[in-house]
């Protein structure tokens, strides 16, 4: 007899509500009218049966009684957690707690994922000249790395979108290169147009065993359609399509692209030069090929009095994430862990009992090409004590936080500068520069100091400096060695 819990992808102690939700989600996908793969109809019938049993408390109890104890099959994926302390302190003020979570693939996985990607290329007037030529070159170079069985499409957009290459298998593509080279710069920037067209191309060829991804290349601000873009990203995420963004030059809206990417679990990057575009595209595609599961979802509940004040994905691509459930963590790679850090603010009223469940939820993902989601139930329970926990925090967490601190100082400085508090912003920049010098990041430190001077002189930061500092400190968060940090350390102009 199959394990009904496994079939529905729920833990054995799942609530009736959880069972119902899992059932509905599966039925939506597996229903004979909608399913797409052989064998899914049979699976659908099994799921039906599982639900009939598990939704009836009496039958469920009978079933549970004869169910063998869970087989401890080695899970292909491992979830580890690290806490900044092991107890919460009973005090009358708000306290902080840091939790680092790490998801890693333990199974050997040699498969190389096939792609279903669309590039949305900004060809607005501001791209005119060398910039557009560089992008064209970068894209045609990148195409050489495609596999014959990869699906790809290319969209050029300004204030309207034009599908240069409809979604097709790479081996069927013809004369794409000449069409790319024929692209002319003109018009304004309406990212929504390009994004929507690219999204539709990916959606048309959507396949769960492929990597379904939209990559946006833009150099400018979009006008008035930011909300529409974010809603589109939400829609894409629901359908299992990720969006990543490459910002070219210094005029684009970084916080918007960050938000756009984080809605889907994608990533956002800063390309200062032509080489950067090629390097970043190659880097992204290398990661795509290594993808074990494309969409890692973290659903959770937090009790009253607990607030999640910060979530940051540290690896493989650094990005500030949303702080509410469901959290899209993005792809899990087969060779590299997916690491994210959460900062909790815990108010005194949450600490009335002897222990507190700071968070309850689950991390779920579906390996590419598989129909069985893996799910990791998670409950972060801490005893409440009147004595502080004397044990030092784990080194991995301190290290991660030390690097993240630099990024946050930068964020803080930008916020302070924006709200007109130049004195504080300058001071924060100086702190940041000291830390950077301490870490040997001299060129980045110099940029920070130049920005601090500029702030005092002109009352604002330069767009370019802001981005160099932001993405420079962000690159430090993930860099494993000095070389990597240096490589991303953009030159000072």
């Amino acid at each position: 007899m199959p394990d009904y819990y496994e079939l529905l992808g729920v833990p054995r102690d799942a609530t009736p509500e959880e069972i119902r939700k899992a059932y509905i989600a599966l039925v939506r996908r597996l229903h004979p009218d909608r399913n797409r793969y052989p064998g899914e109809t049979e699976l659908f019938l099994d799921v039906q049966q599982a639900y009939e049993v598990l939704s009836d408390p009496k039958r469920r109890a009978e079933y549970d009684a004869q169910l063998p104890p869970p087989v401890q099959a080695p899970s292909p994926v491992n979830l580890s957690t690290y806490f900044s302390r092991n107890t919460l302190l009973k005090i009358s003020e708000t306290q902080l707690l840091y939790v680092l979570l790490e998801l890693g693939v333990t199974a050997e996985s040699q498969s190389r994922a096939l792609l279903n990607v669309a590039l949305a290329i900004d060809r607005s007037t501001s791209m005119q000249g060398e910039k557009l030529e560089t992008v064209k070159k970068a894209i045609t170079d990148w195409m050489d790395a495609l596999n014959a069985e990869d699906l790809y499409s290319i969209v050029a957009f300004s204030d309207r979108a034009e599908v240069i290459q409809p979604s097709t298998l790479y081996r069927h593509a013809q004369r794409t290169r000449s069409r790319i080279y024929a692209m002319q710069a003109s018009g304004g920037t309406e990212i929504y147009q390009g994004l929507r067209a690219a999204y539709e191309e990916v959606l048309r060829s959507y396949a769960p065993e492929r990597l379904n991804h939209v990559i946006l290349l833009t150099d400018g601000h979009t006008y008035g359609d930011e909300q529409a873009c974010l809603e589109l990203a939400e829609e894409a995420a629901e359908k299992g399509i990720l969006i990543s963004a490459l910002g070219l030059g210094s005029d684009w809206n970084d916080s918007f692209l960050d938000r756009l990417a984080s809605r889907t679990g994608g990533s956002a990057h800063f390309a200062a030069s032509a080489e950067d575009i090629v390097r970043l595209l190659n880097h992204l595609f290398q990661q795509f090929r290594q993808t074990y599961a494309e969409d890692t979802l973290f659903e959770f509940q937090i009790p009253e009095g607990v607030e999640i004040s910060y979530v940051f994905r540290l690896h493989p691509e650094t990005l500030p994430l949303a702080t509410q459930s469901p959290l899209r963590l993005g792809p899990l790679l087969s060779q590299e862990p997916l690491v994210w850090l959460m900062e909790f603010r815990i108010a005194p009223q949450a600490l009335r009992k002897e222990h507190l469940d700071v968070l309850q939820g689950k991390v779920s993902l579906t390996p590419l090409g598989s129909h069985a989601p893996l799910s990791f139930p998670l409950r972060l329970r801490f005893p409440v004590s009147s004595e502080p926990d004397p044990s030092p925090p784990p080194a991995i967490l301190v290290k991660a936080l030390s690097r993240l601190t630099l990024y946050r100082l930068q964020e803080q400085a930008q916020q302070q500068a924006q709200s007109g508090n130049y004195a504080r912003a300058t001071r924060t920049l100086h702190y940041l520069a000291s830390h950077l010098i301490g870490q040997g990041e001299r060129s980045l430190a110099r940029t920070v100091l130049l920005e601090a001077e500029r702030l005092q002189r002109e009352g604002k930061l330069s767009e370019e400096g802001k981005k160099i500092v932001k993405y420079g400190t962000r690159a430090l968060v993930t860099s494993n060695d000095r070389e990597k940090g240096r490589e991303k350390d953009a030159p000072v102009s």
Partner: protein, 170 residues
């Protein structure tokens, strides 16, 4: 409420790094320093335990600065890297060694002028940090941001402030 020793900011309980200036506020399990440099943490715990005991070595003076104009001696110990400069109002980065008491301003020392780094037991290098008036070693102006090895008894000049370097508290 943990008070930051660097900027006096009151941090919430549980903070690991100062929210104002980014200073590390707690010791991690693998390191006991209050330094924000974390590259060493990665080393395995075993490795660190081997390195950890001889703490006395760390606190021994490895270099003494002899200020030729005033005759002052400044011993350098504990850390393996020091920045030299002078402190003023609205200071960008505080140098580790403030040379203001030795007429640094009059001698043309920049606020963040140069860096001394101990590479190994007997190898100490100097690097100019892009100072306005330059750093000189035996009369030669140094290229900024490049390391130059020093020998015991060498005279360096930050602008016009002459300093003799004496290895190990000799």
């Amino acid at each position: 409420m943990p008070l930051c020793p660097n900027c006096q900011h009151h941090n919430p309980v549980g903070a690991l790094f100062c929210q104002e200036c980014g200073l590390q506020l707690v010791a991690s399990e693998a390191t006991v320093t209050q330094n924000i440099r974390t590259d060493q943490i990665r080393n395995s715990v075993a490795e660190l335990q081997q390195v950890a005991p001889p703490q006395r070595i760390v606190t021994t003076t490895w270099l003494t600065l002899h200020l030729l104009d005033t005759g002052h001696l400044l011993p350098l110990a504990e850390r393996s890297e020091f920045t030299l400069g002078r402190v003023t109002e609205n200071q960008p980065i505080l140098p580790d060694i403030d040379l203001t008491p030795y007429q640094a301003h009059a001698h043309g020392v920049s606020r963040l002028h140069a860096l001394l780094r101990r590479k190994s037991e007997n190898v100490v290098v100097i690097m100019d940090l892009g100072s306005s008036n330059g750093t000189y070693l035996k009369g030669q102006r140094l290229e900024p941001h490049r390391e130059y090895p020093l020998a015991h008894g060498d005279v360096i000049a930050l602008g016009k402030l002459k300093i003799q370097v004496l290895f190990r508290g000799r």
